[in-house]
Symmetry: C2
Subunit: 339 residues, 2 copies
DNA sequence: CTGAAAGCGCTTACAG
DNA sequence: CTGAAAGCGCTTACAG
């Protein structure tokens, strides 16, 4: 087995040049003569040499590793985001080191420790409840952080979200234009900025028409909780004729529950979600929902992070990207609106 | 900003001990007096010191990084697996560095290069078509590899899969016991071992009852292709009364398509999938499917890999884990079988 | 138990 | 353009 690690020394010896020459050939901006380059490349190929990225990281102080902190991947939005983020970063010569923050028994502390130990160049947090702590700690250590799909209010951290307030408002306009008059809201989680923003926009939108939700229940981004909330709101009198759900993941549970109750959608009640994950377009759900423009959110996240890594002095950025309402079969479509 | 990296030197200075002493305090098996430990820990905490994992990796030759190579995350099975794998590895002090192999324009070569550059201690491949190349190359370089949910036939690599042949056979038994007589198969991809094995077990199971599939079409693990295949097989005469689909991801497309054609499930046709991803249990699908025992597969994968890392001489292991058929509403249930 | 020293595999001024 | 040398932050024999 080719067990022994091949080093630049080995290549240098075979090529008949100095170790520094080998290094230069593998360093983008460095200078080397054509002859040297040829000799080194030949020797390197013969030996199967690859520069040790860890050793390089030690010298340059750049690991080209980005820590990605996620809590769970049930909600289809996050795996797809992870795939896109990883691809975008890979294209820029970075790689993603995954940190699962789900087992939050010991809090976020061990994650912070490990993140720093690996000398990550930057951090992206996604779907983490208590990211406050983490982001503060890392920023204090001088590691750039961008929050993906979460915009901690007062915090001095960069964040990329979709235009959640605006999105909530769009849903309100849509449902009112559709003639709904008893609208319930199964919200996300009041501890999350996205959840709060969607709710706020939604309530403001209703208020503009002198309406208010007939009920607001936090679904905690959980299927079980959302299912129970559905039963609860449908027991109200008068019964709601529309439900706006804080994200698609919960909206699927709402639709499943309504189906099991024998309530027709959108005949008796319209349902609108938020995210537009792939599943929303599947025939079994046909969910009307506000699209989070994933590709543009990912682009903005990666750009913001890499810019901050290159120039740490760069100010904090809060980027909001607008997304359209996608009309499908789960909600009554107002006259004149086109699918 | 606390910009400057804090090193063991800084801690040593503050604690009034040597740099080696600091190192020993942070090295599990090393010896240090209570007094030294106390002084060092105090100083380290004060400074916010964390050993540089990269420097440690250079000395020890162990990066404690595992490369995870995945192709796409649409199929819900993989994100969930990724989450579990990452968690299990994290619990053992390892972390996952993600390599997306989707943009296969330049082939797998760049991925191999990067994998080796980062000195990963081991590699897990999941859902990669052309993993042959990659696994061979890495194994040749002395890096342990475990293939997750894929068992390249002749290859000398460790692999963990569910018992796919057996699973296919179970489906055949089940459908025959349910009285189906015109059974079609929308297979996975004949280039994948899982696809081939499921198909083989299925056909053997039918053959044991002197039957054969009325049609076999590769769905390529793709929704569009599976949808078209559904239309094709349902146009046959006589029309199939059951369809076994190579994985759940495609089975959802099959169910969506049947619904859009107005064909009742399981009244007119039974549908069975493979994987038992979370979505299979959602009310909208209620998919009867063979469960891949994810937790046990992940455990076996991580165990096998870590064992091989600790003892490179260990022989290649092929582990197959049996999974049950999960009975739900998408298929007619034979008399006497219990849900 | 503890410190001085070598060395992991590189990059990068520094002279030539 | 090129080589010798220093040094990134650590671990680990080696003497004490």
């Amino acid at each position: 087995m080719a067990e022994a690690r091949i080093t630049s020394q080995d290549v240098a010896r075979l090529a008949g040049v100095s170790q520094s020459a080998v290094s230069r050939v593998f360093t983008p901006g460095a200078s080397a003569s054509k002859a040297t380059i040829a000799k080194v490349q030949k020797a390197a190929e013969h030996l199967g040499y690859r520069p040790n990225a860890l050793a390089r990281a030690m010298i340059t102080g750049k690991s080209r590793i980005i820590g990605l902190v996620v809590a769970y991947l049930d909600n289809q939005f996050y795996p797809v985001a992870l795939e896109r983020i990883s691809n975008a970063l890979q294209a820029s010569g970075y790689h993603v080191l995954v940190f699962m923050a789900s087992n939050t028994q010991d809090g976020i502390e061990p994650v912070v420790q490990e993140l720093m130990g690996y000398q990550v160049d930057g951090i992206i947090t996604a779907s983490v409840g208590m990211s406050n702590d983490l982001t503060d700690r890392c920023a204090a250590a001088g590691i750039p952080v961008v929050m993906f799909n979460r915009g901690q209010d007062g915090s001095g951290h960069s964040a990329v979200t979709s235009a959640n307030v605006e999105g909530g408002r769009k849903v309100a306009e849509f449902l009112i234009a559709g003639g709904h008059r008893h609208i319930a809201h199964i919200a996300g989680w009041s501890g999350s900025s996205t959840g709060r923003d969607r709710q706020r926009g939604f309530e403001e939108g209703l208020a503009a028409h002198s309406q208010a939700p007939v009920a607001v229940i936090d679904g905690l981004y959980d299927r079980q909780v959302a299912a129970q909330a559905t039963r609860d709101v449908m027991a109200l009198t008068p019964r709601p004729d529309a439900i706006f759900v804080g994200n698609d993941h919960m909206a699927f549970a709402v639709l499943d529950t309504l189906r099991s109750m024998g309530i027709s959608v959108p005949g008796e009640v319209s349902v609108v979600g938020y995210d537009d994950v792939p599943l929303a377009a599947y025939g079994a759900y046909e969910l009307t929902t506000v699209r989070q423009p994933l590709n543009r959110m990912v682009e903005a996240t990666v750009e913001t992070l890499l810019a901050k890594i290159e120039d740490p002095g760069r100010p904090v950025q809060k980027i909001e990207i607008d997304g359209p309402l996608i009309l499908r079969g789960s909600a009554r479509i107002p006259q004149g609106w086109t699918t």
